[in-house]
Symmetry: none
DNA sequence: AATGAATGAGGATTCATTCAT
DNA sequence: TATGAATGAATCCTCATTCAT
């Protein structure tokens, strides 16, 4: 009764359409979360933004949470790429960290939705958040390991590298909440005092060497 | 139109009972948020935990949000007191910061609910979160100003002190998410590597002075 | 164990205090209904306006509804008095009705709360509304009966007098909703066209006598 | 991205079912308001009467109020149609008004719920009430303008026509409260004395021409 | 595969009335 | 008698998910 090839298109074409729809949902979700937060990212809103029927959502994702949990890791990769590009070719490790720090804020500005997605994910998309943190931390870890191979960070033990990674991540993530976010979803560049304070901390610690020598 | 005081029970007795009920709601809310998060802290659950009728809630708080917003600042003061006690009498500024850092983690362990209350507040009780951050930052700020008066932190400019405050707050807050939280609401002490890495960073920065000189 | 006369004041003094409190609640209720409508006239608001504890309300009235039901009849008597004063000494029955009509609108302006109390009572205080209507109608009825005794309204049968009463009440009550109410609880005087149209209707009916003769 | 029409049931089938559900809610609401009043017309009751889940309500109406506000204008059009049919072909303007007056009461009897819906709407569905009043008044206005074009109502000025409209509306609306409503939601026909008194008023005013001349 | 209507549990809040003090 | 805290039923609305078409 049915004529298979006539009735439906080639499997690959189907696959393609499917991928497109998934991607559209992603895009829509990012926009919606950026504007309304995870809590406001109802399936209704997301599908509306993707110009799709509400029910169709469940063809592409098993649940609302599943999509939300993929959101951050996906954008996180963009962020990593952006930072990697910024770092390439910099001088000593602190110069490289400065590039990373600034690049992080640049990325926030370029992709303002990312700010909200990143910061809310911890509670609204915890699986996604963890995956993202692991991705970023692993990347950072590789960078610091290479730095150590080059002789830098010499006074930190092997076991201290991971904590160090989180301390550096802390610096940019936490301060971005304080210094980058402006009402209305706007994202500002970091004030220079923040960058310089950070760099001084990285170069010499809390106190100048002389002071530490005397103590 | 008003009656002599002998005619009805001391107003103070009522006041007292009232205070008790309010306090019970606070306690209950802290417990509930600790276990279920802010999102799960429905008025129904909170009043049930306080063994009280749902409607009674509104005798003590104008809204659910109002209570939730008071939660963190209140516990934050406890935290501040705990840290202040721990710091008193320590040596140089870095030793003091070590005490603060450790005391922060101690407090998390003593008051496991605080961990969740602190970290979720940013999104579920933003007013309370901001008040808390301001309280903590102001306190920190005073500490660093005193340190500078004693000659420490000499290479930071006046304008860099506030950023520095947030960098220090970042260190403990962000790493606690990674190192202190264990599933089931358990809170662990920080690994020694975290503390030592932090202290090295504060003493000498990323690279030992010699190394940085040579690079 | 008790010394009666020392402990409490004379019964009449008590009665007096009690009356005062009741009156205060009335006043308060009228104010509150005027501003917030019956629906917004919660016991809490009324007692607050009367500077009294919520619970005390039930010493003076068996229920919220009981007070609300007394409100309109009470104010209605004031209104009757006002209208009666205005009518006294006027000429023919239509001149008298003009006085009543205008006096009704004057009263609404003098007592703006009355407007709302009157119009909402039908649904929120139906017993009070019915009592009020009966009072007004009975008064009107007496006036028309006297008019008939003077030879006016000669073409109406005895049985048509009551309907007539309601037709006259209709005119002022219904048109006040349309022409007297202004947003913000303000009450305006009736436009002259309303009064003149009404009087023409009363003097000659819809069509001038000549016209009706010709038809 | 959209599918051929053969693939799923005709959209019209869905549309139809949807219309049916909306209509069912209307019907249910009219019944419920008729019996319990607007205040008792909870979404729970309405949906129960329409044999539908509570949540489904919001597929068809954005809010409870939105439905309630549509109720009266909708029924009002039915009423207008009923009255228009009754009036057609009557003689002079007063004969026509008699037809309208009687038709109004007939409609109340045919649709007993309308009585309550009409009278409570002023406070519980004010937007709907205003729309309804405007509809009715506009219709009336057209009728009187036509009458004037035919030479009737000659002694009223242009500016007095609108007030006149409201005086006529007043007559039927207000007296229906008194004469048509019976406990239990029953609606009675108007007593003949009401009709005759009304007509005498319209034909000759309060006093017969002779009497008024003599006074 | 796509649609969008249907579901129903769950949540915050209000308020008349009761009651212990 | 006066107080004001306590009660708990009732209400509107949201939304993830399911399901018939």
């Amino acid at each position: 009764m049915s004529a298979p090839s006539a009735r439906r298109s080639r499997p690959s074409a189907r696959r393609e359409r499917s991928e497109k729809a998934r991607a559209a949902l992603f895009e829509a979700a990012a926009r919606v979360v950026g504007r309304h937060g995870y809590a406001g990212a109802s399936v209704a809103r997301i599908t509306a933004a993707a110009r799709m029927a509400q029910g169709s959502f469940y063809t592409y994702f098993p649940s609302r949470q599943a999509l939300l949990d993929e959101l951050l890791p996906k954008l996180g990769e963009e962020m990593l790429a952006h930072i990697a590009a910024a770092v390439s070719g910099a001088g000593d490790e602190i110069a490289r960290e400065e590039r990373r720090f600034r690049a992080f804020f640049e990325f926030l500005q370029r992709r303002p939705a990312f700010f909200r997605i990143l910061h809310e994910a911890e509670f609204f998309a915890p699986r996604g958040f963890r995956r993202h943190i692991e991705n970023i931390a692993a990347d950072y870890r590789r960078a610091l390991d290479r730095a150590r191979a080059r002789g830098a960070l010499a006074h930190f033990t092997e076991a201290e590298v991971e904590p160090l990674v989180f301390l550096l991540m802390a610096a940019r993530s936490y301060t971005s909440m304080r210094y980058a976010y402006a009402p209305g979803g706007k994202v500002r560049p970091p004030p220079e005092e923040l960058v310089s304070a950070y760099l001084k901390l990285l170069r010499q610690g809390l106190d100048p060497p002389a002071a530490s020598a005397e103590s």
